[in-house]
């Protein structure tokens, strides 16, 4: 199916009333969770995942993807009005966005964030549409050794970019591999790490870990503070939210570079939207004629990162859908969702499920338009979400977590596990262990072990098969380089500086 035919097919599917409704529900929920500090898209998608079993898979993926990219729009609202990022990708938007709001320019800051998100989000979907099908055809040549090498490379990238300490990121990823290994071995039926519990013979459900670590862990982390932050006022009326023509002219380069850089960074496993937004902000500042004013309320300082973190979404879906390799916690949950509904993301995904792929692409074009409409005139309404008392919000999240876990399995044992993983998620935050490598290790663990064992069966036990095939050898060499490069102090200094900036 060529691109034009695929897109027409996709729009026919995405424009069905029910799918339009799911798209709207997804982007609306995404905007709301993006606005709420302490509730991110991974937690929301994980909590809703068991409930999607009741839905048509096309509608379900359209809704979950809507939450994913919708949250990027909402995150900027909190950064601008509260100086607290609604989600990690909007950290850098605080710098100039909040400064603009304090100068009485909250309206244009919110407006330019929505416009940049729309422009770059649309470019990201365009990139996904153009890049994914040829990459999937290329990946058809992959066999088990290449898949093992590719997953190793993906995990290595996540470990490199996930946290300040690579050892902690590596340990989190290894623990994820261990959790994935709990249960019955599919090759030999040997039960592993079950502690004599019947309930563990079928393994630990991914949803339990994801909800525990992301949703419950996040609530516990946020419970530490009793005070609720103060919100700056939002100007009323569409006219007060629209940037001036001069603002738009100032942001031309930011729109373009944010769109391109965001997409490219998104394609890399592990880099993610936070890195994309920082790189884009850095590039904008480096090429700006008024770079010394950055941080004091420059409109390009809002447009560039907001564009990049939205374009990144399209890029991040490329390896997920064509190779079956997620690059972040959220895409790992989307991968689990696709597997749960009976799909196998990988080189054959687009060919075998053209409706799903093109329907998703078309829904993202539609969703971006919906988000522009929601986030320009209705932003004062959404800002009211920030006034929701946390003592109402947190019990709701805990309750939805209980229901989400129980709905998936009907087992009370999973609720006990949920409590355990909630504590693990909280301790990981306190001790500075990143959670994305754990989730990726968990999602990829089973497939990685299968690919390694199949490779060794092909070679009758010789590990040389992993390095005798050129693509596999190149990817494994790259994975090793990624893990060992930080030993060189100059690179590690750069890496730590980037991560420190991200935290500040």
């Amino acid at each position: 199916m060529d691109i034009a035919a695929g897109l027409l097919h996709g729009f026919a599917l995405a424009l069905q009333p029910l799918n339009l409704l799911w798209c709207f529900v997804g982007v609306l929920l995404g905007t709301i969770v993006g606005i709420m500090p302490g509730l991110g898209p991974p937690a929301t998608i994980a909590m809703l995942l068991p409930l999607t079993a009741l839905m048509n898979p096309a509608g379900a993926i359209i809704m979950l993807a809507g939450i994913y990219y919708g949250a990027k729009y909402g995150g900027s609202t909190t950064s601008i009005l509260l100086n607290v990022p609604g989600e990690s990708a909007s950290v850098v938007t605080c710098l100039d966005g909040y400064a603009m709001a304090r100068k009485g320019r909250a309206g244009p800051a919110l407006g330019i964030a929505a416009i940049a998100s729309f422009v770059a989000g649309t470019v990201g979907v365009l990139g996904l549409m153009l890049v994914a099908p040829p990459l999937a055809r290329l990946a058809l040549a992959f066999s088990s050794p290449e898949y093992f090498a590719l997953m190793s490379l993906g995990l290595a990238m996540v470990v490199l970019l996930a946290g300040k300490s690579m050892v902690k990121a590596l340990l989190a990823m290894l623990v994820g591999l261990w959790i994935a290994g709990i249960g019955t071995d599919v090759f030999t039926s040997q039960s592993r790490f079950t502690f004599g519990r019947m309930e563990l013979l079928s393994g630990i459900d991914f949803v339990v870990v994801a909800i525990g670590v992301f949703a419950l862990g996040e609530v516990l982390g946020n419970m530490e503070a009793r005070e609720e932050p103060q919100v700056l006022p939002v100007p009323k009326g569409l006219r007060n939210l629209l940037p001036t023509m001069q603002d738009l002219r100032d942001c031309r380069f930011a729109f373009a570079q944010g769109s391109v850089l965001g997409f490219l960074v998104g394609v890399l496993p592990g880099a993610g939207s936070t890195i994309a937004s920082f790189i884009s902000y850095g590039v904008e500042k480096a090429f700006s004629k008024r770079r010394e004013q950055f941080g004091t309320g420059v409109i390009e300082g809002v447009a560039a990162p907001e564009g990049a973190n939205n374009s990144e979404t399209g890029g991040a879906l490329v390896p997920l859908l064509t190779l079956g390799i997620p690059g972040s916690g959220t895409t790992a949950i989307l991968l689990a969702a696709l597997v749960l509904w009976g799909f196998k993301p990988g080189p054959l995904f687009i060919a075998e499920n053209p409706g799903m792929f093109w329907g998703l692409v078309a829904s993202m074009y539609i969703g971006n338009v919906m988000l522009l409409v929601l986030n320009l005139p209705l932003v004062p309404l959404f800002a009211q979400v920030l006034r929701t008392p946390v003592y109402v919000l947190y019990p709701l999240i805990i309750g939805i977590s209980f229901v989400g876990v129980y709905a998936g399995s009907g087992s009370l044992f999973d609720l006990y596990l949920l409590a355990g993983f909630g504590l693990l998620g909280y301790l990981m935050r306190k001790l500075d262990y990143p959670s994305a490598p754990l989730i990726l290790g968990l999602v990829l663990g089973g497939a990685m072990e299968r690919a390694l064992r199949q490779s060794l069966m092909m070679s009758e036990g010789h590990l040389s098969i992993l390095v005798s095939r050129p693509i596999s050898a190149a990817m494994l060499a790259l994975a090793l380089a990624v893990l060992f490069i930080p030993l060189f102090s100059r690179f590690n200094t750069w890496r730590l500086r980037a991560l420190e900036q991200e935290e500040s």
Partner: protein
């Protein structure tokens, strides 16, 4: 005072996990006639966990975490864990309602009437949305 470093303690806990994984994996086949056995992959990641945790325990130098708010977080976790344990005996409504009441009244020091109202409304909301509207069973 290396022994008080959080990296030392988390490294020690993970080393124990690594040792457990290696010990278990050694009890399973490493290689079989058909290829690698069930012990192959766990043995290698178990060794990797041991090596990384040893490195972390010895060389880790993260500053001490700020534990000032941890009491509130751990108290909430305790309430959640207790309610999960009680669901089997008293049902979702009472167990979850109690957690909601605890968070509002104790953690955020709102009047008991407000806490009771939040607990009642959230429980009622869950019953309306999940079993009635969506047909999803509550614990």
């Amino acid at each position: 005072m290396r022994h008080r470093s959080p990296d030392f303690w988390s490294g020690l806990a993970l080393a124990a996990l690594g040792a457990y994984i290696v010990a278990q994996a050694r009890g399973w086949d490493y290689l079989t006639d058909d290829g690698p056995g069930p012990g192959f992959f766990p043995l290698w990641y178990g060794i990797a966990i041991l090596a990384c945790s040893a490195w972390l325990g010895v060389f880790g130098k993260s500053p001490n975490a700020d534990w000032r708010g941890a009491g509130r977080a751990l108290a909430t976790w305790g309430a959640v864990a207790l309610s999960v344990a009680l669901v089997k005996f008293i049902g979702f409504a009472l167990a979850f309602g109690a957690v909601a009441f605890f968070i509002v009244a104790v953690m955020y020091r709102r009047p008991p009437a407000v806490a009771a109202l939040v607990a009642l409304c959230t429980v009622a909301g869950f019953y309306l949305v999940f079993p009635l509207a969506l047909g999803v069973a509550l614990p």
